[in-house]
C-alpha cells in the first residue's frame, strides 16, 4: 500500500524511494491508519473496507491537490465507518484547503458535508445552489420528488411519496425535458414546452444564487403548498 502512495508522490516530486516511502507513511498516519509504518508494507486485501478507503484518501492527497474528486467514497461502507470517513474528509479538507467534489446518491451525506450542490438527472444537471438551501427548498420537481421519497423525511406517513416511473435509458432519452415523463408538475406549465423544449439554466424565480433547468415559472418550493398539485 505504501508503495502505491510513494509512486504517486515520486511521479510529481523528484525524491528518492526512501523519502517517498516516508511521505507515504506520514500520509497513512494522517488519515488515521494505526501503526502506519507496518501498514505501509501490507497489501490492500489485508486492509478492512474502511482502512482501504482511508488509504485511497491518503493516495489522493499525497501531492496536496487543489481539487479532490470523491466518487461514492462511502457507498460500500457501513454507517458507522461511513461517518468516520466523512469526518476524515471534512477534517482533511480544512487542513489541506483542497476543494472536494463529492459524488453520491445519498442526499443525507450531501446535507452534512457539502457547501454547494448540483443535482443531476439523466446525464444533465437540473438544479444547483447552496446545499442547505436546495435541500431545504427544492425548486426542481426531481429534487423535490427525491427528497419526498426518503423515508426519514416522511417517517410518520403511511405511504412514501414515490417518484413514479423509472429513470430513462441514456440511449433513448425522452424528448424535451428528460424528466417530463415522471414529472408531476408538468401540468403547471402552459403549452407543450416540457415535451418539446430542453430547458436551459436559468435563475430560480424568487430565490437568489439558485439555478434550475425547468419550465416551471414558480419553483416547486412555493408550489408544494398548493392543494391541487397531487
Amino acid at each position: 500500500m505504501g508503495g502505491q502512495i510513494a509512486e504517486a508522490y515520486r511521479a510529481h516530486n523528484k525524491v528518492s524511494k526512501q523519502v517517498a516511502m516516508k511521505r507515504a507513511v506520514e500520509m497513512l498516519d494522517l488519515v488515521g491508519i494505526p501503526n502506519p509504518q507496518r501498514r505501509a508494507n501490507s497489501y490492500p486485501h489485508e486492509f478492512s473496507g474502511g482502512m482501504r478507503q482511508r488509504a485511497m484518501i491518503a493516495l489522493g492527497l499525497v501531492n496536496n491537490p487543489k481539487l479532490l474528486i470523491a466518487d461514492e467514497p462511502t457507498t460500500a461502507l457501513d454507517v458507522t465507518v461511513q461517518a468516520q470517513i466523512l469526518d476524515l474528509v471534512n477534517d482533511l479538507q480544512k487542513e489541506f484547503g483542497s476543494a472536494v467534489i463529492l459524488i453520491t446518491h445519498d442526499l443525507a451525506v450531501v446535507a452534512e458535508t457539502a457547501d454547494d450542490i448540483l443535482v443531476m438527472y439523466a446525464g444533465r444537471g437540473v438544479e444547483k445552489g447552496s446545499a442547505k438551501e436546495v435541500l431545504a427548498q427544492p425548486s426542481h420537481p426531481y429534487t423535490y420528488g427525491l427528497l419526498q421519497s426518503l423515508p426519514s423525511h416522511s417517517e410518520d406517513l403511511e405511504e412514501l411519496k414515490a417518484i413514479k416511473g423509472t429513470p430513462p435509458s441514456l440511449l433513448n432519452l425522452p424528448s424535451g425535458c428528460s424528466f417530463h415523463p415522471r414529472c408531476e408538475f408538468k401540468t403547471q406549465v402552459e403549452g407543450d414546452a416540457c415535451w418539446t423544449v430542453l430547458p436551459e439554466w436559468r435563475p430560480t424565480p424568487g430565490l437568489s444564487n439558485r439555478e434550475i433547468r425547468c419550465h416551471l415559472t414558480d419553483p416547486v418550493a412555493t408550489l408544494q403548498h398548493d392543494e391541487g398539485v397531487r
Binding site: Q82, A108, A111, A136, Q148, P151, E155, E159, K161
Partner: protein, 350 residues
C-alpha cells in the same frame, strides 16, 4: 394484527466451522455468524433486523427460511419445531414462509420467462391447477406490473420491476410470513419508495407478517413495528420501533443512529451530537470476550470484558418477563442509558 405467535426463534445459532493454520499447528476455528438470538413474530407483525455488514442478519433470514441449517437453538413456526425438518417435510413451511431477496439481478433466473418464474411455485405446491396462467397474470397485476408481460425475460425489466417480480413470486404461494432481505438496498432512491409502498400496501391488504432485514435505519423506521438491532451475531437491543429510535438504551444503537447522516441538517435543524465509533467491526471468528461491543464502546469497563451482558429490560424485572410474552424493550449492556422521562411515559401508557 392478531396476537397469535407465528414464528418463535429461541437461542438460534449458526457457527461455521473451518480449519486455520497458526504457525505450525492446525487450529479448528468457528465463525459465529449467529450466536444465540431469540425473537418472536406475531401474525401480521413486522420485525426489523438492523445492523452493519457481518452482524448475522442475512444468516438469520436464511436460518428462519431453512435455507441453512442452524447449529443450535430452535425455530418454531405456528408452534411446530421446524429446526431440523428434512427438505420433503418442509413443504408446508415453504408455503407459509417466503423470502424476498436483495439483488433483483441475481434473484431471477435469466433463462426463464416471467411466466415460468411465477408458475414454478404454483406447480410445486399444486395451486390453481389448470388456471396457472390466470393466477400469474393476477399476481403481476397485484405487484403493479403489466399482466401482458408474462412472456418476457427478466433482462427486459428494470431493477425496480424485477424486484416486483421477486415479490410476486414470494406471494404466489400465499404465505403468512415474508422474510425480506434488504429488499430495496439495491434500488435507486426514487425507486425504493415505490417498492416500499408496494410492500406496505400488500402487508395491509394480505395481512402478512414480515421480517425485514435492512441496514438503512430510515427504511426500517418507516416500515417496521418492532426492531432488533444486531451486532456481531447477537441481538443487542430489541423493542418497539418508537423506543429504539427515540430512547435507545444500548450504546451501539445510539452510535448507529447518530452515525446516520441526517438530511434535516439542511433544514436548519442542528446536527445531532455525534458519537464516533473507532475502528471497524471485529472479526466474528474471534469475537471479544464478554460484551462484544466493548472494543469500540466508550463506556467499557472491566466487567464488560468478563461478563456477557444478557438481553434484559433496563428498567425492571417485570418488563423482562412481559417481553417473553410479547413485551417491549430489551437491551444487552452493563451500562444502559435509560431516559427516565420516556420510560415513565411508556409505562404510563402501557
Amino acid at each position: 394484527m392478531s396476537d397469535k405467535t407465528l414464528l418463535k426463534v429461541t437461542d438460534l445459532q449458526r457457527h461455521f466451522p473451518f480449519r486455520e493454520v497458526q504457525g505450525l499447528k492446525m487450529v479448528k476455528a468457528t465463525v459465529k455468524a449467529v450466536d444465540g438470538i431469540s425473537f418472536t413474530v406475531k401474525e401480521g407483525q413486522t420485525l426489523g433486523l438492523v445492523g452493519e455488514s457481518g452482524c448475522g442478519k442475512s444468516t438469520t433470514s436464511r436460518l428462519v427460511t431453512r435455507l441453512d441449517e442452524p447449529t443450535g437453538g430452535t425455530v418454531e413456526f405456528e408452534g411446530r419445531d421446524i429446526t431440523h425438518l428434512k427438505e420433503h417435510e418442509l413443504r408446508e413451511i415453504r408455503r407459509n414462509v417466503q423470502m424476498i431477496f436483495q439483488d433483483p439481478y441475481s434473484s431471477l433466473n435469466p433463462r426463464q420467462t416471467v411466466g415460468a418464474i411465477l408458475t414454478t411455485p404454483l406447480r410445486v405446491h399444486g395451486l390453481h391447477k389448470g388456471k396457472e396462467k390466470a393466477r400469474v397474470q393476477e399476481l403481476l397485476a397485484l405487484v403493479g406490473l403489466n399482466p401482458e408481460h408474462i412472456n418476457r425475460y427478466p433482462s427486459e425489466f428494470s431493477g425496480g420491476q424485477r424486484q416486483r417480480i421477486g415479490i410476486a413470486r414470494a406471494l404466489a404461494v400465499e404465505p403468512k410470513l415474508i422474510i425480506a432481505d434488504e429488499p430495496v438496498s439495491a434500488l435507486d432512491v426514487s425507486i425504493q419508495a415505490q417498492v416500499m409502498n408496494l410492500l406496505a400496501k400488500l402487508r395491509n391488504e394480505l395481512d402478512l407478517a414480515f421480517i425485514f432485514v435492512a441496514h438503512d435505519l430510515g427504511v426500517v423506521r418507516h416500515f417496521c413495528d418492532q426492531v432488533a438491532v444486531m451486532y456481531l451475531g447477537k441481538i443487542v437491543e430489541y423493542g418497539d420501533k418508537k423506543k429504539i429510535y427515540e430512547a435507545p438504551e444500548h450504546p451501539y444503537t445510539q452510535a448507529l443512529l447518530s452515525a446516520a447522516p441526517d438530511i434535516n441538517v439542511a433544514r436548519g435543524i442542528a446536527p445531532k451530537e455525534r458519537i464516533r465509533l473507532v475502528g471497524d467491526v471485529p472479526s466474528p471468528i474471534d469475537p471479544p470476550s464478554g460484551c462484544r461491543f466493548r472494543t469500540r464502546c466508550w463506556k467499557a469497563q472491566d466487567i464488560c470484558a468478563q461478563q456477557e451482558p444478557p438481553l434484559v429490560s433496563a428498567t425492571s424485572e417485570e418488563s423482562t418477563r412481559t417481553f417473553r410474552e410479547g413485551g417491549v424493550h430489551l437491551q444487552a449492556c452493563h451500562f444502559p442509558e435509560v431516559k427516565t422521562d420516556l420510560v415513565a411515559e411508556v409505562e404510563h401508557s402501557a
